[in-house]
């Protein structure tokens, strides 16, 4: 686990959904590695803990409060980054929602909501980021997918379809943006120990963990470390990839 480094020194990064879970860990780790991190959350106060890192890490955390499904607000946020930093090196599309239901019990409303956040907002943010990245002829976009996006999972038809879409849009964007030296990759976490995972109850948690080769859930920090690699120049020739962070999970 990387606690601090200078791999992201002088890099300007935007992390969506940074108030908790994987997004929080990514923002925290990026700041520890020297980045200026624009951390996005929907509600004011939601980034309080993250902001307390300022002064205690080599990078910095700047709050950006907006809903990723609000295109006008997302554009405004991007303009703010442009004005304050003049560039954007890394976008981490992490904000996402999960609405689980078995086939036959999935409402249209839930389908729309999940795709609005998990897919349409990702494409929106990607298009906005590319405007800044194209000018500098470089950049790294990291989309948070999921192991269920490739393997599927019982009760997760909508969520898995949305993450499958994230994977395919990642591959297409990588092809389209390679000539501009903008890299686009996806990280596909397996079972990660977040509030969301704990909410399924202890028994189900055990069942899930039994399916993991390493016999434990991953941590948000372990996902964040993979994001550091993709955000940094260590992965300068890596694009269009989907990197699983799942401890050898079989679902």
């Amino acid at each position: 686990m990387i606690s601090s480094c200078d791999l992201l020194k002088n890099k300007v990064c935007l992390v969506t959904g940074a108030s908790r879970g994987i997004g929080y860990a990514v923002a925290k780790r990026f700041a520890a590695c020297g980045a200026a991190v624009y951390a996005n959350g929907r509600r004011e106060e939601s980034l309080k803990e993250l902001l307390s890192l300022n002064g205690n890490c080599s990078g910095s955390v700047i709050p950006l409060y907006f809903d990723v499904t609000d295109s006008a607000a997302a554009k405004k946020a991007m303009m703010q980054i442009k004005k304050e930093q003049g560039k954007l090196d890394v976008l981490v599309n992490n904000a996402g929602i999960m609405k689980d239901a078995l086939i036959g019990m999935i409402s249209k409303e839930d389908m729309h909501q999940v795709f609005e956040v998990n897919v349409f907002a990702v494409m929106d943010m990607l298009q906005l980021a590319v405007k800044l990245m194209s000018r500098q002829n470089s950049g790294s976009i990291i989309n948070l997918a999921s192991i269920v996006g490739t393997n599927g999972n019982r009760g997760q038809m909508v969520y898995s379809a949305s993450k499958g879409a994230v994977i395919s849009l990642t591959k297409t964007a990588a092809k389209e943006l390679a000539s501009r030296h903008i890299r686009v990759n996806a990280v596909a976490p397996g079972v990660i120990d977040t509030d969301m995972f704990r909410s399924i109850g202890e028994e189900k948690m055990k069942e899930k963990i039994n399916l993991i080769g390493m016999n434990r859930a991953g941590t948000p920090e372990e996902v964040a470390d993979t994001c550091i690699y993709l955000a940094s120049d260590l992965s300068v020739y890596v694009t269009g990839q989907v990197i699983g962070v799942d401890g050898c999970e079989v679902i």
Binding site: K75, M78, M79, K82, Q127, K131, S134, R135
Partner: protein, 78 residues
């Protein structure tokens, strides 16, 4: 530099055309204004006027004249 000069400059540099070609210039009517040229033009306009164009406006930017109309939406008088 006036706004009109900045506007013209964006076209001249991103599409590599001469000033006498500007009036009546339309998307895909010359080789350099293809999809790649279009994105370069959008980037040049955004840079020149410090704006971020909406996707609908990027799609609507079909001619030199239409672009002037679109710029007005961003409070840019030409």
């Amino acid at each position: 530099m006036t706004n009109l000069e900045k506007y013209k400059k964006a076209f001249l540099e991103s599409l590599e055309v001469s000033e006498d070609q500007l009036e009546g210039l339309e998307y895909q009517k010359i080789e350099s204004w293809d999809s790649v040229g279009h994105m370069n033009l959008v980037a040049a306009l955004e840079e020149a006027f410090d704006i971020m164009m909406d996707t609908d406006d990027i799609i609507d930017l079909s001619s030199y004249e239409k672009g002037k109309e679109i710029m007005r939406k961003y409070d840019i008088e030409l």
